[in-house]
């Protein structure tokens, strides 16, 4: 190796430059090590990259916006080209946002790029998380990286919300008013926290400046740091892959980072950027010029948060009225406390799901081959229930728009969603579990007996059988390469006792693996293939 590289460098400028850098930084070792990392190829493995690239777009466009935005709530009078706000009093924040939109060259495009990219960023994280969840990519050794990734999701929502609040228009002001209400609904400390946050009585004149600091300094720094850790872990753990011929727990089949993967990834960055720019060019997002300045009295029909906060807004809308009473001389707003608790619990469960599942299954093995969702029926069913729960909350945030567009009464929409919030996840759980098990059975029979060919043959003895077409080896491998799981059983601990905790864990574990179908053993597969091509009914 070392003898070959000097020979290459003499051949031209690039070689000489590479040599110059290498002699001073020893970078070739890193390039060699990193460049040879293998990444498997599957479209769903690119979702995290979409999130990363939209974050880069957000950083670039956001930097441009900071050149012109003024995070101040001082009163100004607008005198710009948007006639319906001409001569209107507004904060410097909204005034500068309007200037960016109408007077800075390319400002409106960059604003819209920034906002669309933000929506895409959170959506891509969401879809990426779903992929990780349903394929079991969070299992040992990657549990902590799931927690880190989920923290990124929360940070992204925080970034989004602080950004949404900056223009200080009617829409964002109403969003802050809701947050203020939620904070004040927290018993004992709520009012104090609200005064602290807003620097006095809501809305005050401090909040935009404070959110701005969070939005452009603290939160992006945290996001960057967490992305860095997240990616280091991806490299350390190596990428997971779907089962397939030649793919084992000990290898990764795919392309090396250099040059193939880097080229593809670089190209994909421009694809993502391109889609965002197209969205921003042709579709309006957050028309602050229509919302006008924030003023606590007016509110617009159809006031909603950006999509990623929708689930929280929806939860508030789903709580029935009259859950507020006075006790010990204080107001207890359970219509606020309960949704906060439900949302908090939901977030904590999702965040620590890998640890919870690991504890229930007692699985201590390392996993580098992904699960097919159907092969883990209970997990997939839990995921479907969680998605349903989230989706109902999300839908509730747009209950009024559902009502006008589908000609329902808005109360009816709310009541149906209230019922669905409770029943929906249960139905989704059982339905998904049954579907998964049925699919497993289908796979099993395919692996053992092959496809039904539709050819009926009469045997010498007069018996009629259908000829089954066996799967080829590769196809069968995909279906049968699955590890066996077994539930944790109650065993006495070192002192010979069986504690309640152990019993609880064992019963959870039994529930988790309930109805599972044992993977095919090699003996069964062999027996089936010796059975021959002609196969009787079964």
């Amino acid at each position: 190796m070392t003898t070959e590289i000097p020979r290459l460098q003499r051949t031209g400028f690039t070689g000489a430059a590479a040599n110059y850098i290498d002699e001073r930084t020893s970078i070739s070792a890193v390039v060699k090590e990193f460049g040879r990392k293998i990444f498997p190829d599957h479209w769903s493995f690119l979702l995290g990259e979409v999130a990363l690239y939209s974050f880069v777009v957000i950083l670039l466009s956001g930097t441009f916006l900071t050149f012109f935005f003024q995070a101040s709530m001082t009163d100004t009078v607008y005198n710009g080209p948007w006639v319906p706000l001409d001569g209107i009093h507004m904060s410097a924040a909204l005034n500068s946002t309007l200037q960016i939109s109408f007077e800075v060259r390319g400002g409106l495009l960059v604003r819209q790029i920034h906002h669309w990219a933000a929506l895409l960023f959170v959506a891509a994280i969401g879809l990426h998380m779903l992929r990780i969840f349903f394929t079991g990519a969070f299992r040992k050794p990657r549990e902590l990286n799931w927690v880190i990734g989920f923290t990124l999701f929360i940070l992204a929502m925080a970034e989004g919300f602080t950004g949404y609040s900056l223009p200080d228009d009617l829409l964002s002001g109403n969003g802050l008013a809701i947050i203020n209400g939620m904070i004040k609904g927290v018993p004992l400390v709520g009012t104090w926290i609200s005064y602290l946050l807003f620097g006095g009585l809501f809305p005050g004149t401090a909040i935009v400046g404070r959110l701005y600091t969070l939005h452009i300094l603290l939160l992006p720094a945290l996001v960057l740091a967490f992305i860095a850790i997240h990616l280091v872990f991806v490299v350390v753990h190596k990428h997971t892959q779907f089962a397939g011929p030649g793919r084992t727990q000990g290898n990764v089949v795919g392309y090396p980072i250099l040059p193939v993967y880097a080229a593809k990834a670089g190209g994909f960055f421009f694809i993502v950027f391109g889609v965002i720019v197209l969205l921003a060019t042709f579709f309006t997002i957050n028309p602050v010029w229509l919302y006008g300045p924030f003023d606590p009295s007016p509110i617009s029909a159809g006031t909603q948060p950006d999509w990623y906060i929708g689930f929280a807004d929806g939860m508030l809308r789903l709580i029935p009225p009259h859950w507020e009473f006075v006790w010990l001389n204080r107001t207890w707003s359970f219509n606020i406390i309960v949704p906060i608790l439900i949302l908090g619990l939901f977030i904590v469960i999702v965040m620590f799901y890998p640890l919870i599942e690991g504890w229930i299954t007692g699985d201590k093995r390392e996993h580098h081959i992904l699960d097919r969702p159907r092969n883990q029926a209970t997990r997939t069913a839990i995921g479907a229930a969680g998605v349903t729960f989230y989706a109902v909350m999300w839908a509730a945030a747009s209950g009024d728009i559902i009502a006008t567009h589908f000609k329902f009464a808005v109360e009816g929409v709310t009541h149906v969603l209230q019922i669905l919030l409770i029943l929906g996840p249960v139905i989704a759980y059982f339905l998904t579990k049954r579907i998964c098990i049925a699919l497993q059975k289908k796979d099993r029979s395919l692996a053992l007996h092959g496809y039904e060919s539709g050819r009926i043959v009469r045997l010498a003895g007069g018996e009629y059988v259908e000829v089954h077409q066996p799967l080829d080896e590769y196809e069968r491998w995909r279906l049968v390469s699955q590890e066996a799981d077994k539930p944790v059983i109650v065993r006495p601990d070192s002192r010979g006792r069986i504690t309640g905790g152990r019993r609880f864990r064992a019963s959870l574990s039994r529930w988790f693996f309930d109805d599972r179908i044992e993977p095919l053993s090699q003996a069964e597969i062999d027996a089936a293939s010796h059975h021959g091509e002609l196969e009787g009914g079964h």
């Binding site: 979702l47 889609v275 579709f283 309006t284 945030a397 009464a409 009816g412």
Partner: protein, 275 residues
Amino acid sequence: MPKLNAPSTKTARKNRKVGRRHPLATVALIAIGLGLTGGVYAAVNAAPATASADTTSASQQQITEGQKVFEANCASCHGLNAVGSANGPSLIGVGAAAVDFQVGTGRMPMAASGPQAPQKPVQLNDTQIADLAAYVASLAPGPAIPTGPQISTNGDAAQGAELFRINCAMCHNVAGAGGALTEGKYAPPLAGVTPTHIYEAMITGPQNMPVFNDLNLTPAQKSDIITYLTYIQQNPSPGGYALEDLGPVSEGLFLWIFGLGAIVGLAVWITAKSN
């Protein structure tokens, strides 16, 4: 958006410097332009004014014609002589404005009972509507069909926008995109509503909309609101297609379906190529 069109004045200045035209040519052009614009404005503004002038000065003949139309189309619900019945309220004192609004937007004659009389294609022609209005107005005094300056679109759009946000946006949405009310009722989108009908809606308060009389909103303020609504209709969103002005919900849905959908499609495509 005349004010948004800054670059055109710049090019005009450049032309003058080049000096290929007579210096007075620009002045003449501006004069012609102003004359034309003024003429068009006058023509546009004059048309509704004359039309509604007819309806206010109702002749006895119009009233008798109106009564016939009423008996044929409306009496089944509103009763003979418009005194009301179990199927519809009395129309005594609702004024010509209410009739012109309800019939002119196709809400009346109502087809089926529901939470709210929906808009339909207009059923009667302009003369019949004018006759009906004259007839109902002859029964008792009530708000007349607005004319002239009341429905002018030359008011203060900024003032109008602010009044609209304070008085109307909670039901109709800041962009006039409409919104839900209780029990299946709704505030309709305001795109495409004529200035006359906007004014009439404010003074008569159809169905679940409150009445904005001249003490709540002076006629000049009403015309400001009309100016604003006309402005946002004539100036489509500077940011591109506005996704029906429904706000973050439509933006979020659009992003998930088309934005992320496109990206997933492209991701499938680039990974498929390698196989």
